[in-house]
């Protein structure tokens, strides 16, 4: 199902920045902490102090290798850092150390899974490279000054550059989400768009048909949520369609997205574009990542979302359920634990994604500090399957497990949730109910089968909800079908 606006098809590529969760910065032994008071997370290098030199962080490089391998990139044994120059108050040295002609990873791909309304897609990656972040400028409203905080300056970043393989705004968001999931699986970044540990720029161009050459592209900068990413691309497509349909030409430009007006706005055109004057970083020899290192990291990679999703589908889960579970590594691991504890996949998925996830989200808790253990859920499912408790009782038991953090079986025992499935015992109760409800029995036999619910309710009332509804129903079938009981008085 292709995305077409007024006969134009978008071609989209994303440049994603991901802040790595290392203890220290990319090129200096300065702590990286988010949300601290301004200029408290700095060292001499962070300030671009004369005489300081960059020394790369091994952990950051290892994280970079992880992402490169997870996306199937070629990891280059030799890569180089380079300097990218521009003047900006938040850029301490007047240049950013990045990788230019010789990135550590090239090629690779990200698979976007299918959903109900979208086919699976493969988005190719051009490259991934390492670089250092800039600080932060704040514009003071109503004053003629801006304030600069260098806490973030020098933080380690990966930039992931896709081929222009994306064909709709929704697909862009889906790609971004899949990339985020991969990054989180790898444990290399919080990858949180709101906090800015995952950021995105989008390149957009239009063409009439899939066979045409690419049109002139424009780059939308700083898209900091999935919603704005999608909206901004939609807005940019509208802007370019209007230009082209009006007989104009799209001019290569850098844009920002105005979230209030829901419009993209040109910041500068190609003619005004900066000349970054890249050249190889002379303060560091080439970076060497040897085969032994690559193989060790490969051996330590966790199961990746695509593999996991496949495994869930094979276990009989729906695409939707597999997608929900896989999107969150913690959730999926918890689910795996429930299954490992003996539960079947479908009820396990239901309990984990509906009941537990809902409660945890409401309480802003993570799976790590969930009061309900995976073994608890497996046990609960077992109790229901064995007919020990009813589905309704199970929900109540679950709530108590969540609040009290003790085993479901103990709660069932303590609070008398054990279901009565003994046919003999229940038949006496059913007979008693029918005896006490002659009018309703009359109505039922006269064809008004709705009153059956009334009988069930009465049985449940008398058994304090512990009657096995299946057994009750079959007893009702038997006794209501039987000839009217003889009554001595009549």
């Amino acid at each position: 199902m292709s995305y077409v606006v007024g006969g134009w098809r978008p071609v989209i590529g994303l440049e994603v920045h991901c802040q790595l969760q290392t203890r220290t910065k990319m090129f200096s032994a300065c702590a990286v902490r988010i949300g601290e008071a301004p200029n408290t997370q700095t060292d001499a290098y962070t300030w671009g102090t004369p005489g300081t030199l960059p020394v790369p962080n091994r952990q950051a490089v290892e994280y970079a290798i992880r992402l490169g391998l997870a996306t199937g990139c070629e990891i280059h044994e030799t890569s180089r850092f380079a300097r990218k120059h521009y003047f900006y108050p938040d850029l301490p040295k007047g240049f950013q150390i990045t990788q230019s002609d010789h990135p550590y990873a090239t090629g690779g791909l990200v698979e976007i899974p299918a959903t109900n309304d979208r086919e699976a897609r493969t988005i190719r990656l051009i490259r991934i490279h390492m670089e250092e972040d800039a600080g932060k400028n704040t514009h003071v409203p109503g004053e003629d000054v801006s304030l600069v905080d260098y806490n973030r300056a020098g933080s380690p970043l990966l930039e992931i550059v896709s081929e222009p393989d994306i064909r709709s705004p929704a697909e862009a968001a889906a790609y971004m989400k899949e990339l985020r999931t991969i990054i989180r699986y790898l444990g290399i970044s919080e990858a949180n768009m709101e906090q800015g540990t995952l950021r995105c720029d989008a390149n957009v161009s239009l063409r009439r048909s899939e066979d045409d050459a690419y049109g002139t592209r424009c780059e939308i900068k700083n898209l900091n949520s999935f919603k704005f990413l999608e909206e901004a691309i939609e807005a940019e497509i509208r802007r370019q369609v209007d230009i082209l349909d009006g007989g104009g030409e799209v001019v290569q430009a850098t844009l920002s997205y105005d979230t209030n007006k829901r419009q993209t706005r040109v910041m500068r055109t190609k003619e005004e574009a900066a000349d970054y004057r890249y050249f190889p970083e002379p303060d560091m020899p080439p970076l060497v990542i040897d085969a032994g290192w690559i193989e060790r990291v490969r051996g330590e990679l966790p199961e990746l979302p695509a593999t996991r999703r496949e495994r869930y589908l094979e276990a009989g889960l729906s695409e939707y359920d597999a997608g929900v579970l896989t999107s969150d590594a913690e959730l999926a691991s918890f689910f795996d634990e429930v299954v490992a504890a003996g539960a079947a996949a479908k009820p396990a998925c239901n309990w984990v994604t509906t009941h537990l996830l809902g409660r945890l989200n409401t309480d802003e808790r993570s799976f790590a500090d969930s009061p309900v253990q995976a073994s608890h859920i497996a046990q609960l499912i077992g109790l229901v399957e064995d007919g020990m408790i009813s589905g309704r009782a199970a929900k109540e038991v679950f709530d108590k497990v969540y609040t009290e953090g003790i085993e479901p079986s103990a709660i069932v025992e303590r609070d008398g949730y054990k279901q009565v499935s003994d046919t003999g015992a229940l038949e006496a109760v059913v007979r008693e109910v029918l005896d006490q409800s002659p009018t309703q029995v009359e109505q039922y036999r006269g064809g008004k089968t709705k009153v059956r619910g009334y009988f069930v309710g009465q049985v449940m009332k008398k058994t304090k909800g512990q009657a096995n509804p299946g057994v009750v129903n079959s007893l009702l079938d038997k006794l209501l079908a039987a000839p009217p009981p003889e009554t001595g008085e009549d």
Partner: protein, 491 residues
């Protein structure tokens, strides 16, 4: 005791043995500075309190019975490019005139750990860009041998202070000849080590792939002593080499007998090679031969392209390294209403002409549309130049050459012609481009008046400093140039 005429090695020995206190030595040098400075102006900042405190620390350590380092009580001056905590480090620029660093660089730390006493910070061309020490908003340095002459540059203050006897040892930096050329013009020993031999951490950067710190001394063995202190791997500099540091002083005794000394004859035919410089060089070759060296002719096919290559690469790196001086975080700020005008006004006021010229040139060669033609090509020619030396060292152990094509010139004589100034780096620049060690030792004097020193350059393969010291010491033993002192500042 006459302390000023004593070598750094001897001073350290006397202090270690308790024959003289570090404080006495420091005071003698502080007094000497008082006499020479009004004539020479080598010091941008004198630090008498710091010097005496350093000296007292050494004396206290001796009294405690601590083992004292190789520079125990030796008074040292540092080019003002070396980052010194709490001491203004101007790099010869208005931009950093009031900058007080928050940390000590590796050189300051290593010298302090070795027991060295810091006398002050020495004058230089702004951001180490220049060959005469005139590129600075501060007062120019005067050559101790002829006070109306330049001391060379950019480490002019470091060379002049050692020549004037106003410090026992000093440190300079060499990007295209900035140690060897002033050493030559001031008649002292100066060595630029192999690239990476000495850390660059705590040295204000000019051209990162070429910059290297090194010592100035009155003789080869003192230079060897100082290099032994500052050399060695530093985890704060990713380009510093891990190779072990040999005993350079001991290496001075190895002699030159049997060594093959290469001479690039074609280079002696360049325009502008002074006749006195040429004849001093020819005599030096005879001295080396008499000391047992074999002279062999070598070729350096890309020699003539070194200056052009250098001025592309060094200015490119400089334009990058100096981008941080924008008035935002430290140093000079010219306050303005808009950010752009603050940047421009700060950099206009903070940088001198030569620095601006090089930033402009460096910016030009790195622009996207000129990169391949200039920067990319120069990087390839640099490879060829380095290969020339590698090939030359297949047939020789050392290369001998002049240092500067001319002896010192008069202050103000050449300031108006930047290209002519650049061309004077012809003999020194290839060494930086190839990352090799090179040393200037006193090698004679000009014949006219004033009588000006002329240096002899010895160049070796990577990490061949021991061989250079051996050759330099052998040459020194056969000559007396290094024993002469400038008459105008003699006490």
């Amino acid at each position: 005791m006459e302390l000023l005429g004593v070598s750094a090695r001897e001073l350290a020995r006397l202090v270690r043995g308790g024959e003289v206190s570090a404080r006495e030595v420091a005071q003698a040098y502080l007094d000497r500075i008082g006499q020479t400075e009004e004539k020479v102006h080598a010091y941008l900042a004198r630090l008498p309190e710091r010097a005496l405190a350093d000296a007292d620390r050494v004396d206290a350590a001796r009294v405690r019975g601590d083992e004292l380092g190789p520079l125990a009580g030796v008074p040292v001056g540092l080019k003002d490019i070396f980052v010194t905590r709490g001491v203004p480090t101007s790099c010869g620029s208005r931009m950093l005139a009031d900058w007080e660093p928050s940390y000590d660089g590796s050189h300051v730390r290593r010298i302090a750990e070795a027991g060295g006493v810091l006398l002050g910070k020495l004058a230089m061309d702004e951001f180490a860009m220049g060959s005469s020490n005139e590129n600075t908003p501060f007062s120019p340095v005067h050559n101790p041998w002829a006070l109306d002459h330049v001391p060379g540059g950019s480490s002019g203050g470091s060379a002049a202070a050692v020549a004037a006897g106003s410090c026992a040892l000093s440190l300079g930096t060499d990007t295209g000849g900035s140690i060897r050329q002033p050493a030559s013009l001031c008649g002292v020993v100066g060595i630029k080590p192999t690239y990476g031999r000495v850390s660059r951490h705590g040295m204000v950067a000019f051209a990162s792939s070429l910059d290297q710190a090194g010592p100035f001394a009155r003789d080869v063995r003192d230079a060897a002593l100082m290099l032994g202190v500052i050399a060695g791997h530093d985890p704060n500099d990713a380009t510093s080499l891990r190779a072990e540091v040999p005993d350079y002083v001991a290496a001075c005794d190895a002699g030159i007998s049997g060594a093959r000394v290469g001479v690039h004859r074609a280079a002696l035919e360049i325009d502008g090679l002074d006749a006195d410089v040429r004849s001093a060089f020819e005599r030096s070759l005879e001295v080396l031969a008499e000391a047992g060296a074999h002279l062999v002719d070598i070729e350096l096919p890309h020699f003539e392209y070194a200056i052009a290559t250098y001025y592309v690469l060094a200015t490119a790196e400089a334009s990058s390294n100096l981008a941080r001086y924008d008035g935002v975080r430290y140093g000079l700020r010219e306050s303005r209403d808009s950010l752009l005008s603050m940047y421009e006004a700060t950099r206009e006021a903070g940088f001198g002409d030569e620095v601006k010229r090089r930033i402009m040139l460096g910016t030009f060669v790195l622009r996207a549309d000129s990169y391949e033609q200039y920067y990319g090509r120069a990087m390839r020619v640099r490879t060829l130049i380095a290969q020339d030396y590698t090939r030359a060292f297949e047939s020789c152990d050392l290369i001998a050459s002049p240092v500067s094509p001319v002896p010192g010139w008069k202050l103000g004589e050449r300031v108006s012609d930047p290209l002519a100034m650049y061309l004077a780096d012809v003999f020194t620049i290839g060494v930086n481009l190839a990352g090799l060690p090179g040393m200037s030792v006193p090698g004679g004097f000009s014949t006219g008046s004033p009588r000006l020193p002329i240096g002899l350059q010895l160049i070796g393969p990577r990490l061949s400093e021991p061989r250079l010291f051996a050759a330099g010491a052998a040459y020194e033993a056969a000559t007396s140039w290094h024993t002469e002192r400038p008459p105008e500042v003699s006490s």
